[in-house]
């Protein structure tokens, strides 16, 4: 379908405001060119797009990033207590001085900008390739924009069992920064990696993470989108899973004026497992959108989506989740739950939990609930001497626990819970 004039204009305006990355003859230049062509064909998202029904894309596509005040952090950095390999970005640019030496046994780590001019690189088969696969049946123009214009990011190839997690830290230091990062992770057969991500990144952050998981490999991903209130983010994960591989991703989001996290998972090998979960707490002008698309294209795969949101003071939570079971993906086990707790009358939860199933021997289910804190439970706690504010927080935490429990590693699970708890306690004063 031809693009509307408004869409064409918005797309060209955005592209005109970009400074194009250095063009070259290398594989990366080709991938970028392809992505920009894709983007021009689909146009940037508009308010009338069905896939953006619940989230206004305006601030994410504007030529200039809306300003965001740098947030003063008054607590220990996230994941500080963990032994990890730190890679730090400041406003979307890698900062080697604050980072660890990027060497880890069983893992090759290269900076995107360092390999741009090489003719051959393993990432050639993945960079923008998984993103392009994820453009159908629904267009994800912000991801194509990212592939076309990302200047920085890491290419991580895991051949064994990484002994330490790789931790990507995104610092935000300029109130007008507009960051685009693109990472590619390839896990070879039987490899294992835990990837941690945290930090506000920039006033506006566009990030793509492409993950290719070979047979029998395991990928764990824990992300904390922090307390940085005014930042905006549009992130995409594109994951492709081989046979008997495992993909687990958890995201905690507290605040952030605009967040759109898309997760596109393709189960291409039999017996693969993909779990994706999120716990979000929003206050005030908080708009948080989880958009998940899981495609089952192999037999006996399992997918789980668990998303919980606690909203107050006009916060808006969005969940768009889809399980697509292709013809022949028999014995699929697909599960999806999206729940929200509205703590007051001004908050909203908008959901579209979708199933599209073309195989008959499957067990797919989804559930979605929205409501206030259960008055009886609150009364029970209060009658046992727990003050109302504390009782409410206790119930909020237990509500979010179902999503947090999706994190396999106990220490990480506790770290996330502690953050949620601290956020509530601070708010309580």
């Amino acid at each position: 379908m031809a693009l509307t004039q408004a869409k064409l204009d918005a797309t060209e305006a955005r592209l005109a405001a970009m400074d194009a990355p250095a063009q070259g003859a290398g594989w990366l230049a080709q991938a970028r060119g392809g992505a920009v062509a894709r983007l021009r064909e689909m146009g940037l998202p508009g308010r009338r797009d069905e896939y953006w029904k619940f989230t206004r894309p305006d601030s994410l596509i504007a030529p200039e990033a809306p300003r965001a005040a740098v947030f003063e952090i008054d607590e220990a950095p996230m994941f500080d207590e963990f032994d990890r390999l730190k890679l730090v970005f400041v406003d979307g640019v890698f900062d080697p001085d604050s980072s660890d030496d990027p060497s880890l046994a069983g893992v090759e780590i290269e900076r995107l900008s360092d390999v741009a001019d090489t003719d051959i690189h393993w990432a050639r088969d993945l960079y923008g390739v998984l993103e392009a696969r994820g453009q159908s049946p629904v267009a994800r123009p912000l991801a194509a924009l990212n592939t076309g214009y990302a200047k920085d990011g890491f290419l991580i190839r895991v051949t064994g069992r990484a002994e330490r997690p790789i931790s990507l830290i995104y610092r935000h230091e300029t109130d007008s920064s507009d960051a685009i990062l693109h990472h590619v992770v390839r896990l070879e057969e039987g490899a294992e990696l835990t990837l941690l991500e945290n930090g506000p990144a920039a006033a506006r952050f566009n990030k793509v993470l492409e993950v290719d998981i070979a047979d029998g490999a395991r990928f764990n991903h824990i992300r904390a989108q922090g307390r940085d209130h005014e930042r905006r983010a549009a992130t995409h994960i594109f994951a492709r899973l081989g046979a008997e591989s495992v993909f687990k991703s958890f995201t905690m989001s507290v605040n952030g004026v605009m967040t759109r996290n898309e997760c596109v998972i393709e189960l291409t090998g039999d017996d693969a497992v993909a779990h994706v979960a999120g716990a979000a707490m929003g206050d005030g002008d908080f708009h948080h959108d989880d958009t998940v698309f899981v495609t089952h294209d192999a037999e006996r795969c399992e997918s789980r989506q668990v998303f919980k949101k606690v909203l107050r003071n006009g916060a808006v939570g969005v969940f768009q989740g889809k399980i697509l079971v292709k013809d022949g993906a028999q014995k699929t086990d697909g599960y999806q739950i999206s729940q929200s707790l509205l703590l007051d009358d001004d908050s909203q939860f908008l959901a579209k939990p979708e199933l599209e199933i073309y195989a008959d021997d499957v067990a797919c289910s989804h559930g979605s609930t929205t409501g206030a804190i259960d008055a009886d439970t609150l009364y029970y706690l209060r009658s046992r001497g727990v003050p109302e504010a504390e009782a409410t927080d206790l119930l909020v935490l237990s509500f979010l626990a179902q999503a947090v429990e999706e994190i396999e590693d106990e220490a990480l699970r506790e770290a996330i819970t502690a953050r949620l708890d601290a956020w509530l306690a601070r708010r309580r004063g």
Binding site: L343, F349, E354, L355, C364, H366, T370, G371
Partner: protein, 519 residues
């Protein structure tokens, strides 16, 4: 069902009874014959003159003609919707007839006695009794006059079964039974064309007030060219003394049917309305684009039941009806209630979302649906529950069953507006796939804008009423059996509310269990 007959594997755990029932329902189409009768057609295609012609044939006043013409103008501006998960060749709106009337209806018969016997035969063959005498005899206990199969199905209910029928044949209403008796109770039940002539004040007040003229492509088209349909007005405090029904029959070739139904239940009124439809077997597809509007004032209650059995196309997917229907109820008054029940077995393509606008405080909307698609059928159906008033409640139970190469989609919206304090919704949609070439899809939209509202959307079989489940499990049933029992029990209740004419069909549907179902 061709696919199953070829020995295709059926998933383990699916009841043979279910398979048989689906085969039976989706199998030989029983109503595929046609009536050989001389017809008057409007010229082929659509333009303002055709709109005027339809208006003229219906002897409509000027304001109605204008209403139609303005709808036609708007329709020209509108685009055909493409968001539904249905796929069909582009419809050529200029290559069909918009009005077809049996020649014998040129002079409107004064009573059913004057109606062309061929038409009466048609309805008799369909099992729709148009002779009051016969029905009354049945009521008075002379059961031998009722057909044997109907007696079996409606056992023990004969005494209470009386159904007034408005029979629509292509573009015209052939006749309406029990009008006199209904009139005594104050109920107006007639064809919409008659209502436009006889009760213009009611029609003017309500027509288009629930489904606005420019609501959507097909509703706008309908507003321009609707030829007939039914009109019901139940005055304040009146409980309609019998069930009302309309039976739609498409007979003419290459002709679209555009019926319009308007049901008004005034304060404290109650009416149960039933709708049935069939069409002959043909290789060419035919368009059916209806609009149904229901208005429920304070304390009023309307039950609307449909057994949709348009010709679904043959086993190769040839022919069938394109059923693009807009049905909406406005629960305008406090404590009003509307219940939609639909059994969707026919049509090649269905695009239908019977909805409730819950405007009045404490108003209630319910939607119960069983949609069965087989062979190459495609159904995209569901409901919208828009909660505007306080303490409004809605309940959605949807069962989709696909077989052959069919695609079955539930699409729904539950919207809790900021002022819908203490709004409640419970939604359950389950799908069952029989065979591995078909598809089942669920596309619910949930929008909650106040925190006293409670919305639950379930597509898991584990969330049938806990107490009932506990009761069954306690007596040794496993979970699946218990769910099937509970849900079947529910279906039975819904299906029994349907008129006797549909009873045999309904009985077959009851056997469908939910075993092996997916969300």
């Amino acid at each position: 069902m061709a696919a199953l007959d070829k020995g295709e594997d059926v998933k383990e755990g699916v009841d043979q009874e279910t398979v048989d029932a689906v085969r039976e329902v989706g199998g030989a189409y029983k109503y595929g014959w046609e009536t050989d009768i001389e017809m008057d057609y409007a010229p082929l295609g659509l333009n303002p003159d055709i709109v005027r012609l339809i208006s003229e044939k219906n002897e409509e006043p000027e304001w109605m003609t204008e209403w139609r013409l303005s709808a036609y103008e708007r329709w020209l501006q509108k685009e055909e919707p493409t968001w539904a998960m249905v796929d069909y060749p582009k419809i050529d709106f200029q290559n069909q007839y918009y009005y077809a009337r049996p020649k014998s209806m040129e002079v409107k018969p004064k009573s059913l006695d004057e109606v062309d016997p061929k038409l009466l035969e048609t309805y008799e063959k369909l099992g729709i009794p148009l002779k009051e005498q016969m029905i009354l005899a049945g009521v008075e206990g002379a059961e031998d006059t009722a057909p044997a199969e109907a007696r079996g199905a409606g056992e023990g209910r004969q005494g209470e079964r009386r159904v007034a029928v408005d029979a629509v044949f292509d573009s015209v209403s052939v006749g309406t039974t029990f009008q006199a008796e209904l009139k005594k109770a104050g109920v107006i039940f007639c064809s919409i064309s008659e209502a436009i002539r006889e009760h213009p004040e009611l029609v003017k007040k309500y027509l288009g007030s629930v489904v606005p003229v420019s609501d959507n492509f097909y509703a706008t088209l309908n507003s321009a060219v609707f030829s007939d349909g039914s009109f019901v007005y139940v005055p304040p405090g009146v409980r309609c003394p019998m069930e009302l029904s309309t039976y739609f029959r498409i007979n003419a070739e290459n002709t679209g049917q555009f019926e319009r139904t308007l049901i008004i239940a005034d304060k404290g009124a109650y009416v149960s309305y039933l709708e049935g439809c069939t069409a002959p077997k043909r290789d060419e597809t035919q368009l059916h684009a209806a609009v149904v509007e229901i208005i429920a004032e304070e304390d009023a209650e309307v039950k609307y039941s449909t057994v949709q059995n348009w010709f679904p196309g043959d086993e190769e997917g040839k022919g069938g009806i394109y059923n693009f229907v807009t049905k909406r109820a406005d629960c305008r008054g406090d404590r009003s209630k509307v219940m939609w029940t639909q059994v969707e077995t026919g049509s090649a393509v269905t695009w239908k979302y019977p909805s409730c606008i819950l405007r009045g405080d404490d108003s209630q909307g319910e939607f119960y649906s069983i949609a069965i698609t087989n062979n190459w059928q495609q159904a995209d159906t569901g409901t919208k529950m828009v909660h505007l008033g306080k303490n409004t409640k809605s309940r959605i139970v949807s069962k989709g069953i696909s077989a052959g190469q069919a695609q079955n989609t539930y699409r729904g919206l539950v919207s809790m507006h900021p002022k819908a304090k203490n709004g409640r919704n419970y939604t359950q949609c389950d799908s069952l796939l029989i065979g591995d070439k078909c598809g089942a899809h669920t596309v619910p939209y949930i929008e909650v804008k106040n925190n006293s509202a409670r919305v639950e959307h379930e597509a898991t079989t584990s969330k049938v009423d806990d107490d009932q489940m506990f009761y069954c499990r306690q007596r040794g049933m496993d979970e699946e059996e218990a769910v099937a029992l509970v849900v079947n029990g529910f279906c039975r209740e819904v299906l029994q509310a349907l008129p006797m004419e549909f009873a045999m069909e309904a009985q077959q549907l009851v056997a469908i269990s939910l075993e092996g179902s997916v969300g």
